[in-house]
Symmetry: C2
Subunit: 697 residues, 2 copies
Amino acid sequence: MKGTSVTRTRGRACPLAMVLLCGLALQTVATSAQAQDSRRRRTTQEQKPLVLTPEQTAQLTKIANDRKLNIDDLVAASKTYTPSGRLDEYVLFSSGGQSGQVFAIGVPSMRLLRSIAVFTPESWQGYGFSGLDDPVQERLMINGKSVPWGDTHHPALSETAGDYDGQFLFIGDKANARLGVIDLRDWETKQIVKNPLTISDHGAAFVTPNTDYVIEGGQYGTVLGYGYAPPEDYKKSYRGMVTMWKFDRAKGRIDTTKSFAMELPPYWQDLADAGKGASDGYFFINSFNTEMATGGVEDGKPPFEAGASKRDMDYLHIIDWKKAEKVFNEGKVKVINGFPVIMMDTSIAEGLLYFAPEPKSPHGVDVTPNGQYMVVAGKLDPHVTVYSIDRIKKAIAEKKYTGTDEYGVPILSFDAVMEAQVEVGLGPLHTQFDDKGYAYTSLFLDSAVARWSLGGEYADKHSEQPWKLVAKTPVQYNIGHLCTAEGDTVSPDGKYLIAMNKWSVDRFVQTGPLMPQNFQLLDIESPGTTMPVLYDLPIGVGEPHYCQMIKADKLKSWGVYPEVGWNPHTQSLDPNAPKKGDEGVTRQGNKVLVKMTAVRSHFTPEHVMVNEGDEVTWRIVVNETTVDATHGFCIGGYNINLSMEPGEYTEFRFIADRAGTYPFYCTEFCSALHLEMMGYLHVKPASKGTADAATVK
Amino acid sequence: MKGTSVTRTRGRACPLAMVLLCGLALQTVATSAQAQDSRRRRTTQEQKPLVLTPEQTAQLTKIANDRKLNIDDLVAASKTYTPSGRLDEYVLFSSGGQSGQVFAIGVPSMRLLRSIAVFTPESWQGYGFSGLDDPVQERLMINGKSVPWGDTHHPALSETAGDYDGQFLFIGDKANARLGVIDLRDWETKQIVKNPLTISDHGAAFVTPNTDYVIEGGQYGTVLGYGYAPPEDYKKSYRGMVTMWKFDRAKGRIDTTKSFAMELPPYWQDLADAGKGASDGYFFINSFNTEMATGGVEDGKPPFEAGASKRDMDYLHIIDWKKAEKVFNEGKVKVINGFPVIMMDTSIAEGLLYFAPEPKSPHGVDVTPNGQYMVVAGKLDPHVTVYSIDRIKKAIAEKKYTGTDEYGVPILSFDAVMEAQVEVGLGPLHTQFDDKGYAYTSLFLDSAVARWSLGGEYADKHSEQPWKLVAKTPVQYNIGHLCTAEGDTVSPDGKYLIAMNKWSVDRFVQTGPLMPQNFQLLDIESPGTTMPVLYDLPIGVGEPHYCQMIKADKLKSWGVYPEVGWNPHTQSLDPNAPKKGDEGVTRQGNKVLVKMTAVRSHFTPEHVMVNEGDEVTWRIVVNETTVDATHGFCIGGYNINLSMEPGEYTEFRFIADRAGTYPFYCTEFCSALHLEMMGYLHVKPASKGTADAATVK
């Protein structure tokens, strides 16, 4: 025994342990609070301006040289590094692609703050793991079959007067044409609606300026209402569509009874954007495959990608949704698969739908902050094409058509509606805006971001010629969408741009054949030709498609639920939530009711005795009101796992169909005695034999 | 039309578009490769040493002051910032807690590189979404029921001679007592084994120094073999256990036929660690609740957390696994639920199992790099207790027992086996090591990391007194486990330490009531009292418990599969993989076989015609050999989603049980014509009526 610092009686635990034990939960919090205070002081105290001493400069230089950093790296590090406890300025809500989730990322630190489970069950959040009648599992049923994954593409933050209000987030599932509604008070998915017309879509979600409607555009032509028709009947029987989901802000839910769709030609509708300001009341959808190619390489026909790219121009869809709403309210619809649809003939007759030619195979259509211009980026054309709402309105009023398409939709004269074209580079795809009169377009083939100057009333905001390419920054690699701070609202902030690169190739440690995406942060604060890459963030938890960046202080998230006994599904206090003192297990026939409370560090009751075959309803309330005092609850082998945030109430139900001794325990490391926060579900065998066979000795 | 930079004929897409179209996929790659080269040059060129000019210093100072950064922040930023294309030095493999996944994080940049799906289906990775007979879904069955989530606790990298070899990663599921095997060539889970003795466990996974065995310890006492016994029979019928899973490195699989378990008393066994060097052949497990408390607050009894903490000392389990392997091979086992178990009587008689007293409710037992010392951190005792293997061996040889426990297991004299005790602070939990003779212990209640000096042969490595607390750094908040670079191997690297904090409270933007964890990076390069926090990484995708940090260049990951047609389930070329030219759809009765190839940017065939009710087997091979050229494949509404990395072959099967027109498409944004990479599954209705009803017009 060579120890020199042994200060206690060997062979027994220090008496301190007993003191600790009694108030352990409390002490845990107190300790945290103290540490917290000391860090807080550091972060909020008046800080003297930093003046680097020669020693400090030498220290930084040495680190830089040891790590082979240059001055650009040091600048980028200084612009992104966010010390402990300092909050990010923006939150980026990104779709998670085929992970079925949404990801929230802090900017400028580029740290993934949280995933939000939407279309794919996720056990950390306890999303979809609460037994029979699990509300998530029920939501994920399509035609009686579970489809527990999604391909999330376009998140849309709720807006008030065209500006993000931080209240809700909508997200579309391309694979299964579903729409999810997330409440940003508790960051939980509250509703999923399935489109009754089409199996898959693409252009969801986009909101109108006051979130009256959430727009879900289609994509691949289909027989509306999940119908069947052979490909040779494509032109006759296949259709496109756009669905207008009515949002009830007070209830925080889509109101399906007030929602409707519009039939569209079987072109492949792509992204949408709602008008605002000058263009309020309209929305715009791109399309491709106006050739109505039906592929068929297996029969020696041109493959889809060639057939769908033959024509020089596709059609920008211009839709007057306020007029469409009126037509819907007048009942001028056909009901398909139980859902009201304004048919094309009606749309044409009522003047709801117009086309404008747009350079082939576009992806994004993006409305400028003032609502005056629609920017279309056609990935096979090196220009962006800018349309003006004034010109569009005038052309409609003056019937400046060059004809109709084969379904009778009027086509506006390109010359009449086009405002400008700007050559930006190869593979333009998506455009957003800043506060200085610039637009930013992603260039997939160039692997670059282009900055270009807007004209019209924006011409006064910058010193460039209007409608002109100003700068390009290479990104790594193959950028899809991009996003600037509040860059698709009426008042973009500029500052930061996210390049959502689809390939990362050599940017990160090789993670097997499946590589992360690469989100690059660009500094767009300075006008002119400089917009350097500041940061590479690997996204290895999904393949995001689109994101929106909101000022963090607009989010009014709950730290704890408003009251103990809160039901997040109803967003209200639940009358079934057990009260302290009411805990216990009761039985009626083979129906068992468990009333449980959970608090650091125990469950009450700790033993639940049931019989094999019993139907068990289990209610748990978390008696915690401290931020971050989350508990989990799982029953091994029974596929039950809950995440129970402070104040939360949960009910779940299952059949105790297999005898045995099942520990349940808290799955969130909540306190020093977390491992002891457990109990047993005892499922007594129906026949005595089962138990004996397994019992040892 | 005010545009000034329009250089093309208005009204038509640039002819360039047609050129682009033909070679688009190729160009995409070429563009990437060029950009890649230019970035590579930047990162690998000989860089002139940086000498900051006054202007550059002023620039940095201005940014720092604008963002209220101090010199410590600038130093931390410089030490962690990793420029685009520069690879991280280490990879941290972290359990994902109740997310059921594993996360890989780059160090020092602290960027989440990738998740690896293990116990929870994950659709981005196409893990568990391949229809009938999906190998993942089959793996996740327990007693005929799907349990598609896990509570991953302890990852273990495979070792050769006690050092990480970068080949495999094992991960335990506490909730359901399962073990996952991940192949680090393609970062995919290859096998899941369910423990046949217990529903839940805790102490998995830990490997022996050459990965002969993967150790899975139990936790909550249970009736072995999933049996039932009432709690009043606890001492008689409940047991602990440890399972030794035999690993077949050549096959990359656990060999369940050569695996065995050992019966233990119904104490709650906790973490384990295998001996190495001086202690090779042994392993060590902590335990708590040697009181065998059975809780029962509902009946006014002491709750588990009090009952399980009454005694001053619990028992460190010392197990001679080489001798146990011999006993197992001699057949001295009892078969429980089909699995061989060495019963306690045998273990005692054969000298396989000894106890040493340890201060109450310990969590971690950690063996020093030389194998000489076992460090036990008891969370209710402010000391770490150090045992010496020499003393243990001597005490066993000399039978220095103070008696036996009530199951007859010999208890070694604490004085005989204890080497030292070091007072480190409140709530010590887990210890790892560096290359300078220091140990690091997490302090849950203190919210701090303690550095202390080792003695024995380590005393020469540092200038401290041996067995003495040297430094403490506060962390935010409530640290659980920690991890140093290769810190539990025979040759730790020091440099970096990860504090795995369970609460983040105010460190990040509030993400609703469910908050991320906080992984803090500490700089432990300098000996002595300085070890600052460099970085806070929010973990909002799970609740990690434990991690290991490996030098990145030890990982020999595949960028693409070795051959086109590779089956990752068998890790070999699959004879069923369709060849280019063999694509098509064939039928035998109601069984349809689809042979498909996928390459940028099309699937062949593009149309698949089946009849309602057909059983469809679908084989796809990805004809790509370029790193990061991944495709996805989904069929909307049919719950099929694959991730198909370059060269990968996949087969899936489903019943076409609902008529309709189902687009399938590539779910990974693979190329400029990605949206056109699609086709249709046409499911012809059995009765003509179905189609007509839904068809429009």
